[in-house]
Amino acid sequence: MSILQSFKNLVRSRSIHVAYVDVGSCNGCDIEVLACLAPRYDIEQYGIYVHNNPREADILLVIGAYTPGWEDKLQGLWEKIPDPKVAIAIGNCPISGCVFNRPHSYVNPPVSKHIPIAAQVPGCPPRPTEILQAVLSLAPEVFKDYERRKR
C-alpha cells in the first residue's frame, strides 16, 4: 500500500461528511439525527460532520417514506454526491413505509427502489446511538482503500 493511500485512509477515517434528506417522514427521525449533533451524543467527536450539502457529502441519510414530490428530485440529489458515496436508510419509513404504508396512500417505499441503499437502521425512530453506530461501521467499509479497489 502506498504512503499516499494510507494517508488518505487516515484522513478519511476522521472526516466523514453527512447530508440528510427527509423524503416525507413525520420528523421523528429528523429529531433523532439532530440529537446526534447535541453534546450528549456529539457526532463530531468521531469526525462526522453534518453539512447538509450533497456536493460535499460522503454519506446520505435518507429519512421518510418517499412521497410523490420526491420522484424527480431524489435521483438527481444522489447523482450530485461525489464518489465514494453511500446512502443509509434511517428509520422504518424508507425500509417498509411503516404506519404510512396503508391502502390508498401515496407513499412509494422502499427507498431502495429509487437509489442504492447500503445500510438500514430500523426503528420508529431509531436511537441516536444506533444511527451513530451505523455510520461508524459503514464508513471504513466504503472509504478504506477506495482508489485501490476502484482500479
Binding site: Q45, I95, V99, N101, C124
Partner: protein, 204 residues
C-alpha cells in the same frame, strides 16, 4: 522571573489536560435497561392466541409462525416494528419481553383486555347465512349446522332467523373476522376493542 514563567507553563500544560483536549470522547453510550427495544422471546410457550397481532398498530410487524415441531412462535419484523410494546402487554402468556414492560405491568397490576363488537347492517344483510356457517366458534358449538345458517339451538354466536343475521352471544367472539371475509355484501363488521384495565382482581 523565569521561575514564575516555568511554573505558569507547568500549571497549564498538564499532561492529562492536553490528552483530554486532543482525545476527548464521551463515555461509550450503552442502551439503558428500561429502553424498549424490539420484543424478544422469554421462552414461555406460545398458545396461538394472536392477541399480539391484534394489538399491533404497525402493518406487517409481527407474525405468529407455525414451527415444524408443532409449536407456535411470534416473529418480529424489524423495519416494520415501531417498538410500542403493545404486543408484550397484550400477550396473555408473557411470551415476549421488552425493556421493563412486564415488570411494570406486574407492579402496577395492569393488563390489556380484548372485547369484540359485531355490527350487522340490516339494510345490506340478505340472510344468506355465509357468516354463520363460516364462523369457527359456531362450528365447535353446532357442527351439524346446514347451509343457510338456520339452527335450532340458541347457544350459537350468530345465526339467521327470519331472513336476517342475528348476533346471539357476542361475548363468544374470538375476533378472527372470518365472517367479514365471507360476507358477499360487506354487511357484517367486527370491531376489536382494546382496553387497558387497572387492578382487574379488585374489580372482580
Amino acid at each position: 522571573m523565569i521561575g514564575s514563567i516555568v511554573s505558569y507553563i507547568r500549571e497549564f500544560a498538564r499532561r492529562e489536560w492536553i490528552h483530554k483536549f486532543f482525545f476527548a470522547k464521551t463515555a461509550p453510550l450503552t442502551t439503558p435497561v428500561y429502553s424498549r427495544g424490539f420484543p424478544e422471546l422469554t421462552g414461555k410457550t406460545c398458545t396461538h392466541a394472536l392477541f399480539c397481532m391484534m394489538a399491533c398498530p404497525a402493518p406487517g410487524a409481527i407474525e405468529v409462525i407455525h414451527l415444524e415441531d408443532g409449536g407456535w412462535e411470534p416473529r418480529i419484523h424489524t423495519g416494520h416494528c415501531i417498538r410500542c410494546g403493545l404486543c408484550v402487554e397484550a400477550c396473555p402468556n408473557g411470551v415476549l419481553y421488552s425493556g421493563r414492560i412486564l415488570e411494570s405491568m406486574f407492579y402496577d397490576n395492569t393488563m390489556l383486555s380484548f372485547s369484540f363488537r359485531i355490527d350487522v347492517d340490516t339494510d345490506r344483510c340478505m340472510g344468506c347465512g355465509n357468516c354463520a356457517v363460516a364462523c369457527p366458534v359456531n362450528k365447535t358449538i353446532d357442527a351439524q349446522m346446514s347451509h343457510g345458517g338456520r339452527a335450532s339451538t340458541d347457544e350459537l354466536l350468530l345465526k339467521v332467523s327470519e331472513g336476517k343475521c342475528v348476533v346471539l352471544h357476542p361475548e363468544k367472539c374470538t375476533g378472527c373476522k372470518t365472517c367479514e371475509q365471507h360476507c358477499p355484501n360487506e354487511a357484517i363488521r367486527v370491531a376489536r376493542l382494546l382496553e387497558a384495565v387497572h387492578a382487574p382482581e379488585e374489580e372482580l
